[in-house]
């Protein structure tokens, strides 16, 4: 364990007290372009911030990470200027550091449980991870382990974060992996949803090319369920196991009057047109988008922040956010909310729309809202918003964007016999196995809308179960701790593998 080589124990007084700020584009300047807002760290910033880690023995950050990255370990390697080593530590558990460093809600995960955070601002783990990920892209590092072909074929439905994570683990376990994507480009929500100023599509492409280096094939323009079914994949197409990670998709509306007026759309539609289809570069790209001048976005999650900030960059005069609870309850990442405020987005907390008004030509012209107050906590633990009688008011708007969440995408349910839960999501057991043997599912299509890293965590959990199903050795276990725990081995064989039997033999 590198612990033996550690210098004397650091204390909270010894470390740099202030968190190292990331370089950012100026708010007024960036509100007019789609370039990345957070420019990240330079090497000296990373060095300084890495100093702030106490290397505490409890390592609460590792427990706080949905995929369990060995965070102190990679930070220590940054301090030791062993950057390649830091990358190796991260990629042992997370293949997409450049993505996760940008989009994870670190404040509720690793950084939220950081020991330094008890007294000072927590270590900027996300920024450090991103710095390592970006360096790896620049230096063209990739970790392609020796892969022993297992002879198994694995099909992955959906090329978003859940599918990518599952694909990577299965490819490392020697499976021949094919990822199917309905869009014309792989990446799922990372491409169509998250805008370039937060996660540039070229970063996503760079990470995807690393997956291709593992031998994973991406097949786009393939709508699984309709072009062929999950059952056909298992029974006819020779896939020994299938993972379904199709995401939640299907956007929700509120069912209030005026929702079919022109100028009213889902955040998914706005973002897909703008990000994946490049409508912002119209007429160089053909996809149209009629940008609003007075935009109202309903909701205060990450998708809402993206919609607000995209609208601002498309040149709207005013961009307003309506949320029925207060700022404290807003589900968006702290950084996104902060960036949106800096860019001049107006927030109307404790207000909810009741009707969208028609200008007489079937275009939306205003939102009628009602003030809310917070009552008793509801099932989610957040205080329930209660409408205040007689407090209606109107906000002018020529574009209204719904970002209030999504429902389950119905296609897989329509076309397969997979058991669904009462809300229409795929029902799975704890190991993410579905009702069809060999078919696993994870990410938003199982849990409902969540985060990128949670979807990746689910993809990896499903991969573990899939390996057990196929009778493959658990490669995490095999390669992960060999040197660390010699005593767990007998005659060079991992104790966890005792009684291990390969249950299926490929042709």
């Amino acid at each position: 364990m590198p612990g033996d080589a550690r210098p004397k124990k650091k204390t909270i007084r010894m470390i740099p007290q202030a968190r190292t700020p990331a370089h950012e584009q100026d708010p007024t300047e960036r509100a007019c372009n789609f370039d990345e807002v957070n420019l990240g760290y330079l090497v000296e910033d990373a060095q300084l911030e890495a100093e702030r880690c106490l290397m505490c023995p409890e390592q609460p950050c590792v427990a706080g990470c949905p995929v369990g990255i060995a965070i102190p370990d990679f930070i220590q390697r940054i301090t030791a200027r062993d950057y390649r080593g830091a990358y190796d530590v991260i990629t042992a558990t997370n293949l997409l550091p450049a993505v996760c460093g940008r989009v994870c809600p670190q404040e509720t995960q690793c950084e939220g449980s950081c020991t330094v955070g008890d007294t000072l601002e927590p270590v900027a783990i996300g920024r450090l991870e991103r710095w390592v990920g970006d360096l790896a892209i620049r230096e063209r590092w990739s970790n392609v382990p020796y892969i022993q072909p297992s002879g198994f074929k694995v099909g992955i439905v959906g090329s978003g974060p859940a599918g990518m994570a599952c694909a990577a683990d299965m490819a490392k376990a020697g499976c021949e992996v094919t990822v199917f994507e309905a869009f014309h480009e792989p990446g799922g929500v990372l491409k169509y949803g998250i805008p370039d100023f937060r996660l540039p599509n070229k970063v996503v492409d760079a990470e995807i090319s690393k997956l291709e280096a593992l031998g994973i094939r991406f097949e786009c323009n393939t709508l699984v369920g309709r072009l062929f079914t999950i059952e056909q994949m298992v029974e006819e197409m020779g896939f020994h196991a299938v993972f379904v990670g199709t995401g939640a998709g299907y956007p929700s509306f509120m069912g209030i009057p005026g929702e079919s007026l022109n100028g009213v759309l889902s955040a998914n539609e706005l973002l897909t047109r703008c990000n994946l289809m490049h409508a912002r570069e119209f007429p160089d790209y053909d996809t149209p988008l009629q940008p609003g001048q007075r935009v109202v976005v309903i909701g205060a999650g990450n998708t809402a922040m993206d919609a607000l900030r995209v609208s601002r960059r498309l040149g709207a005069e005013s961009v307003r956010c309506l949320y029925r609870r207060s700022r404290a309850e807003a589900p968006a990442r702290a950084e996104e909310l902060h960036h949106a405020e800096e860019e001049g987005i107006e927030f109307h907390w404790l207000a909810s729309p009741v009707e969208l008004l028609d200008d007489g030509k079937r275009n939306v012209c205003a939102v009628r809202c009602i003030r809310m107050t917070l009552g008793e906590p509801d099932a989610s633990g957040r205080r329930r918003p209660v409408p205040e009688a007689g407090s209606e008011f109107e906000i002018e708007a020529d574009m209204v964007v719904y970002a209030i969440g999504t429902n389950a995408n119905p296609i897989i349910g329509q076309t397969s016999k997979l058991k669904l839960d009462p809300r229409g999501y795929i029902a799975t057991d704890a190991s993410l196995a579905t009702s069809i043997p060999g078919v696993f599912a994870g990410g938003d299509i199982v849990t409902g809308a969540a985060t990128v890293i949670e979807a990746m965590g689910a993809g990896r959990r499903a991969a573990r179960a899939m390996k057990a199903f196929l009778g493959l050795r658990d490669t995490d276990h095999l390669y992960g701790d060999a040197a660390a725990e010699p005593r767990s081995r007998m005659f060079g064989i991992d104790r966890a593998e005792r009684g291990f039997a390969r249950v299926r033999v490929p042709r």
Binding site: H184, C220, F253, P288
Partner: protein
Amino acid sequence: MNQARVAGYEVVARQDFSDVTFLLEVQHPQLARAARPGQFVIIMASEHGERIPLTIADYDCARGTVTLVIQAVGKTTREMQRDCRVGTRLVALVGPMGVPSHIGQARKVLCVGGGLGVAPVYPQARGYKESGAYVIGILGFRNRELMFWEDKFRATCDELIVCTDDGSAGIKGLVTEGIRLAITQHRDIDECVAIGPPVMMKGCAEATRSSGIRTIVSLNPVMVDGTGMCGGCRVKVGETVRFACVDGPDFDGHLVDFDDLMFRLQRYRATELAATERFNESCRMRNLTAQPVVAE
């Protein structure tokens, strides 16, 4: 990146029906096997193109092709009319999308196609014929010059009524005239399938409402992904809001709010007009530069 993305989908046949309407047959054996009547595809003609939904007009498992009939009305479709020749490739082709039409136990069926809708109603007519129904085809065109596939329908339908606005072929009048004629001649029609422009489908639904004939229409609203993700294609059906791409595209014509659909089809009108205008301009420029250059 992957094969399909680089290679695209090859156009193997093209037929021009008129100045604005043309047919493309595209190679995609897997899609040809999976397609069912009533489904649609989304295509991208070029790297910078938009995704546009097109109803599948026919499919041939043996040849491994799907047939699309396209009307050159906007920038993308006019560009396709100019550029999609045999041997060229579509950048993206995905499908079949939507819930296939339910070809039930109906014994006598009207299959009504208006204009471009004549193409996608063909697989339905054939499907009903194969299920043993008595099929009455009703096709509407503006005039004789715009007519296509009359022979294909004659070979499939038990009866065929052609309607033209100017009376240059068949009976003079809209398809609704044809429907009235058929209803007076046949008292036992179980079902009507109508595909065409929204105003035509609205007319058909009105024409069959009083006789209580179940009327299925196929809606083609603005959509981006076609997989239920963007919600751009939401339509009002009775009291509910449905997504045409995954809940449809077939709906009960007597319940669809066609006025809402027609307004929603205008959503990107201004931008679309600008794009078409710019395209026309670039075509003129292209023609100008194609002239021999006299002197420098």
